[in-house]
């Protein structure tokens, strides 16, 4: 199925969706969003591209293998539980660190964000893994 309209749309939608997925991931802690939704968007961006250009072409533009992305996600999620052990808490307790402090602005990052990043990768990876192999002819 070659559709010029879909191809042009997919080419421009993909970066937009990727950026959007990151935004959704980051803001998830306070507003609707999070790793799961973000991961689905991440995967959807590539699936849209694959629908327009075919799986082979899409895979060439990928610099990672979806299986590895899933594994990375699981590892990151697991690793996010470890800092708590060193802090003397139970495994997977949320730990927060202030990275940048200023009167007007402070950047506070915690292991839950890292965990969400893990979910984000795992969901995106598994989605692509399944969809690509189903769409491949």
């Amino acid at each position: 199925m070659e559709s010029i309209i879909l191809q042009i749309a997919a080419r421009h939608m993909r970066p937009l969706l990727l950026v959007l997925s990151l935004i959704v991931l980051y803001r998830g802690h306070n507003e609707p969003g999070g790793g799961f939704i973000g991961g689905l968007m991440f995967g959807a961006a590539y699936i849209l591209y694959a629908m327009a250009f075919g799986v082979k072409k899409t895979q060439k533009t990928l610099f990672f293998n979806p299986i590895n992305l899933t594994a990375l996600g699981l590892l990151v999620a697991l690793a996010s539980g470890i800092p708590a052990i060193f802090a003397g808490d139970l495994f997977m307790t949320g730990e927060w660190y202030t990275f940048f402090e200023h009167t007007a602005f402070e950047l506070k990052l915690g292991t839950p964000l890292l965990f969400d990043v893990g979910v984000y990768f795992a969901v995106a990876g598994m989605l692509m893994m399944v969809m690509f192999s189903l769409m491949e002819e």
Binding site: G34, F36, G94, W96, G118, V123, G125
Partner: protein, 766 residues
Amino acid sequence: MTTGLFLIVLLGVSALAPFIRKYLKNSAGWIYAIWPFTGFLYYLSLLPQINQGHVLMESYTWLPALGINFSFYVDGFSVLFSLLVLGIGTFIMIYAGYYMRPYPMKGRFMGYLLLFMTAMQGIVVSGNLITMFVFWELTSVSSYLLIGYYHEKPEARASALQALLITGFGGLALLGGFVLLAIPYESYELSYILSNPDLIKNSNLYLPAFILVAIGAFTKSAQFPFHFWLPGAMTAPSPVSAFLHSATMVKAGVFLLARLNPVLGGTELWSYTLTIVGATTMFTGAWLSITQVDLKRILAYTTVSALGTLVLLIGTGTEYAINAAIIFLLVHALYKGTLFMMAGNIEKKTGTRDINQLGGLFKYMPFAAVVMILALVSMAGVPPMLGFLGKELIYEASVAAPKAHLFILTLGFLTNVILVFLSLRLTIDIFWGKEPEYAKTPAEPNLALVIGPFFLVLASFILGLFPSAMANPLTSSAITSISPELDAIILKLWHGFNLVLALSVFTLLSGLFVFKYRHKIIPAIDRFNIKYFRREFTRLFFQMIDAFLIFTKLKTKTLQHGYHRYYLMTLFVIASVLVWIMIWRADPIILELNFSDMPLNLVAVVILIIAAAISSIVSNSRVVALISLGVIGFGITIIFIAYSGVDLAITMIMVETLLVILAMTVVYHLPKYQNFSSTGARMRDALVATLVGSFFIVLVLQAGTSTLDAPISEFFKEASYTQAFGRNIVNVILVDFRALDTLGEITVISIAALGIYAMIQLSKKQ
């Protein structure tokens, strides 16, 4: 803290051994031997302190809430056993380092062997029942790896599996026994249990605890009727056999019985069970060894016999019996280690273990011959070796046994006659006798191969010659550990003329007699055995395993039929019926339907959903059905938005979109949409659907009215920002409060995705 530290070092060395083997080259055995030897010296240095009645205890918390700790309890009995494990272990390492040179994967082999030793050492110093159980299972696992070391051979794999299944079964029983044993104490700590022996005896858990612990000990120590795995285990390389039969693994069961003797022992049940099982095993092992021709197999059956003797003595429980048990333990470890190592040497030098094809070896290897003959002398119980003392004590114990002493004495006498006969036979047939054609001229084994046997025999000799000075300090506190109220008997080589001495002499003469007429007696016994013991236990065991496999296959076929629709149906019906029962019982069902404050646009959405649902059922096109399902999903999404469940709505939109795409990609691969179901099946499906749908409706309507527990949502609302610094409660729950659940979920979906991926790739290939 030395005991724990030492075990960790040993574990570390075991893990490293496979990787450093190639750098150590041919000195590997000697270097690995350093570790057990260090431990040996350490426990030797503890001896004076232990003999004054000290007990060393250490504890490291593991699961304190359950009373499970890594505790160590080192008393006289532990020290004696540690000396055996580590002392013999030292020589086994040296021996194995040289013995295994021609074989592949020797590094890994040495690692397993070290692990095996660590596990046994762990058992004997454990101070917590669960700690002991962990090491106990470790010996089963490591012995599995060792027995199956020649894994290209089917019989090695079968023997390894048999040993693992039997000892593993015993291990499970033992765990159950330990749990029951600990219930009256509310503690797994050995020190506490040993100091209050009456708690379990007065509890009605005594019987089940005893049965389970006994099964654990009997399987491990190859007691009748579980004895058959041990002769099978001799398919392992000789260093393993030498170690397994002398100081580790099979002695673990004996160790356990002796260790728990103050707690479980002393009852009628204990003494009858142990006496009968022990005596039967003692005699069966000896009897079956007569007709064997494989040198290692003969030795394996005598080990079975010796283990039976030890269990019998522990069961008898008198002062003489316990003394005899400890001395005989030492005797047996020393001579059996030697004999198995020498069996390996003979096989290496002549290429065979069949005693009918051996002979005249004395002139080729005189030094090795002397060492082996002395070990055989100890096995026969002839002075001045320690074996003589052991046998004397066993006779003393049998004569003085409180119950059934005639039974014990007869079986003990016959067993010893057989042992004397075997010693004579192995000595004469292997080292003198007719010399066959050897492929290559046998030679004296290398130093590394005989140093172990030599020192073990030397120890047996010195201990036998100076019993009160050497053997007593080694064993006296072990005896009081097993039975606190008993004392060690001062050991003497010469007891004067008495009944026991007469028995000893009579045993020797009978052994000589059997040996003299062996050409008539052995074939007769062989015929007898073939006639009456046709069914081998090993074959029976594997038939049992096969029957079990057939049963499980049948069960799996019935439960795991592979029809997705029936899995779903099972799931739906069970879930909805259970919830229906719950709803029925909880509150009277109040169905309050109030449509008055429902906005008109939502009514439209609901009508749309209903229409889509009907369309999805009646449609004749799969694509239409899928799109209808999508419409239902998006309709629900709109309802979520209307009731401000934005998070859910976003997720739902994503999921619904992807689901429709996913389904569309699958549609291409499916056959044409057809109607296969009969009317009956459709009615049944409709019934299931109604059941599930109605339960959901009732559940949702009831959820508002029935209060089961205080809702947790209030806590999340409170704590979300204060504790987890997030205002999006759903997300905070997912990534913080319930992060471990989420981790489990993403792991599951990743595995599922991998499975789908693998299935699709596989079907593409075909």
